[in-house]
């Protein structure tokens, strides 16, 4: 089997005396959709924050290997923007759009790390800068079209309905050209119709060649999407496997439903 594009080993994160992540191992292979589930407070979002450079993990290793490449890079200790440059982008559990900017501009921000015009380019608008801006606009429109928001491109992001805001977050992350996309509870607060649309969108993104790692509470969505599932509780991994295996795993059922329930 090829090298996993994301290989995490022994990831540990301490906050003062509290161990939020305890020697966690996880891997994602190219083209996979992997879900990370677990009860509230299990440390899933902390895990994402360690991965994306918002926190620096206390111990452990995070290795990223671009698909088809033999060279791995360590993400440990990198700043969030450097992590994004390496090809890993994320969305947020609580929507963090740039609300005073237009929908299109939100996506254009995602192109920042793949473009390079600077002060002089902005002031003189030479041919190279104009071409780059044109490409940013066209590509952002194309991404918006993919998530079904192109007709709302010039609306303010804050004026979008909730489900559309979540899709815009995905579009913005896609604009950074990630090979691995991290989705933090993408279906949170969505109605069944919106969740169904999201299910289809994530499958499409996967078909386009992006690998996906998602945190999600909506079990129907998780079971429908995932190739493999990792389960966490109290900062530890308690199970991993295919959806069918996870569904009948006694440890998982215990973590979700409590001690007294028979598996």
């Amino acid at each position: 089997m090829a090298t996993p594009i994301l290989q995490i080993s022994g990831l540990t994160m301490d906050f003062g005396g509290i161990r939020a992540l305890n020697r966690l191992d996880l891997d994602v292979h190219a083209g996979e959709i992997v879900a990370l589930i677990g009860p509230n407070g299990a440390g899933k979002t902390t895990f994402f924050n360690c991965l994306t450079g918002i926190y620096t993990p206390t111990a452990g290793e995070i290795l990223l290997t671009p698909p088809g490449s033999a060279r791995s890079v360590s993400l440990k200790g990198l700043k969030p923007n450097q992590v994004t440059e390496k090809g890993l982008a994320r969305t947020f559990q609580n929507i963090r759009l740039f609300s005073q900017m237009t929908v299109l501009e939100n996506v254009m921000i995602g192109r920042h790390c793949r473009t390079k015009a600077f002060i002089l380019g902005a002031v003189f608008r030479n041919a190279a800068t104009r071409r780059e801006e044109r490409e940013i606009v066209e590509m952002s429109y194309a991404i918006l079209d993919k998530v079904g928001l192109a007709h709302l491109a010039n609306e303010f992001a804050r004026n979008l309905p909730y489900g559309a805001q979540r899709r815009l977050e995905i579009a913005r992350a896609l604009a950074t050209e990630p090979f691995l996309l991290l989705l933090d509870e993408p279906a949170a607060g969505m109605n069944p119709q919106e969740t169904q649309d999201l299910d289809r969108l994530i499958k499409e993104i996967s078909t386009d060649g992006h690998s996906i790692l998602l945190i999600e509470h909506d079990m129907k969505l998780v079971m429908s999407l995932s190739d493999r599932i990792f389960v966490m509780d109290y900062g530890k991994k308690i199970a991993q496997g295919k959806p069918a295996e996870i569904r009948s795993n006694p440890a998982v059922i215990k973590a979700y439903l409590g001690e007294d329930v028979d598996a």
Binding site: N81, A89, R96, M101, I109, H112, C113, V123, H151, N154
Partner: protein, 341 residues
């Protein structure tokens, strides 16, 4: 009309004002004669005045909320006129050409006092636009902006003093006020041009995104430290340039010219005008600099009136005179709303 509750509040507010103005309005100490006179009648005037103003404001506010919908529509209409003119390039350039013609003709037809006042106003326009990069776009609070202004002024003054760098030195004497005015006008136009271009560039978008949400911004691959530093540096650049002009214009500088109050005024220009809006900042600078000057007719009361206007502005237009508009982009392709499944 006003209910019992409003009247009660009005009376309480009047009492509070009587108390606050007591040392100023009632007690009068004559240090020469060593006597204290109590002017109790003044407290009655204060009470009546406060109560009347309170009631008038309340009635106006009631009226406003009553007609909120109408007002809002009218406001949008008003906003859209400015925005519409700016949106259409033809109208925009006509407007700019018109203003330019007026500005160029101005020193020829007005007194040197008027030119001087306008020169100061233009200096603050450039300062405001410079600080707008830092505060309005990147969202960084900069209370020491005037330091860069001082650096520019002292750099020029020292170079001129020790090395006798002549060109600028001749300006205040030879070229006169009109020349400085003209140069400033040029600076202002260049600043507007550059700030306008920055605003819709890759860098400008990054600043605004940084202002909106730092964590999301970093997660989108933007280097926070570098982007902030560039905003600070570009803002400081304009302050330095205007510092040079200031030193050349006044031919005398000392640290008293660069106090915290100056920083605060420039910040007020940006906030009052509308953070991030170029037209707003220009208007803000003109109002904040020209108003105290033309209120001189009111002599002692001018700063009081100035303060009152600032407070009124914050009450009625807390987001600034002119809100910022974002540029819209269009694709070569046509997009339609997705079909609902």
């Amino acid at each position: 009309m006003l209910g019992f509750k409003e009247i009660k509040n009005g009376l309480l507010v009047s009492l509070w004002f009587v108390f606050l103005t007591f040392p100023l309005m009632v007690v009068k100490v004559d240090p020469v004669e060593r006597i204290v006179s109590w002017r109790w009648e003044n407290s009655i005037y204060v009470a009546i005045g406060t109560f009347v103003i309170y009631c008038v404001v309340k009635i106006i506010m009631q009226h406003r909320t009553g007609n909120a919908a109408v007002e809002k529509e009218a406001e949008q209409e008003k906003e859209s006129i400015i925005h519409r003119v700016l949106a259409s390039p033809k109208q925009k350039y006509t407007l700019i050409a018109l203003l330019l013609a007026v500005a160029i003709a101005f020193p020829q037809f007005s007194s040197s006092y008027q030119t001087n006042v306008m020169t100061t106003a233009l200096m603050y326009v450039v300062l405001g636009l410079g600080l707008n990069i830092v505060v309005g776009m990147a969202g960084l609070l900069d209370l020491g902006y005037v330091a860069f202004y001082a650096v520019g002024a002292y750099t020029y003054a020292l170079l001129n003093h020790h090395f006798d760098l002549g060109f600028w030195a001749v300006l205040p004497i030879g070229g006169g006020m009109a020349a400085i005015f003209g140069i400033l006008l040029g600076f202002m136009i260049v600043t507007i041009f550059i700030v306008n271009r920055l605003q819709d560039s890759r860098l400008g978008r990054a600043w605004i995104a940084l202002r909106e949400d730092e964590i999301a911004c970093q997660a989108m691959g933007i280097d926070k430290r570098r982007t902030k530093l560039v905003a600070f540096a570009l803002g400081a650049f304009w302050a330095g340039i205007i510092g040079v002009v200031f030193a050349a214009k006044t031919t005398f500088i000392n640290p008293a010219s660069f106090t915290f109050l100056e920083s605060a005024i420039i910040l007020a220009i940006v906030v009052l005008g509308g953070m991030g809006s170029i037209v707003g900042v220009i208007l803000g600078a003109l109002i904040l600099i020209l108003l105290p000057e033309y209120l001189r007719a009111l002599s002692e009361y001018r700063m009081l009136a100035f303060g009152a206007i600032l407070v009124a502005m914050m009450v009625f237009r807390p987001r600034g005179l002119i809100s910022n508009i974002r540029r819209t982009y269009h694709s070569d392709k046509k997009f339609h709303p997705p079909i609902q499944h």
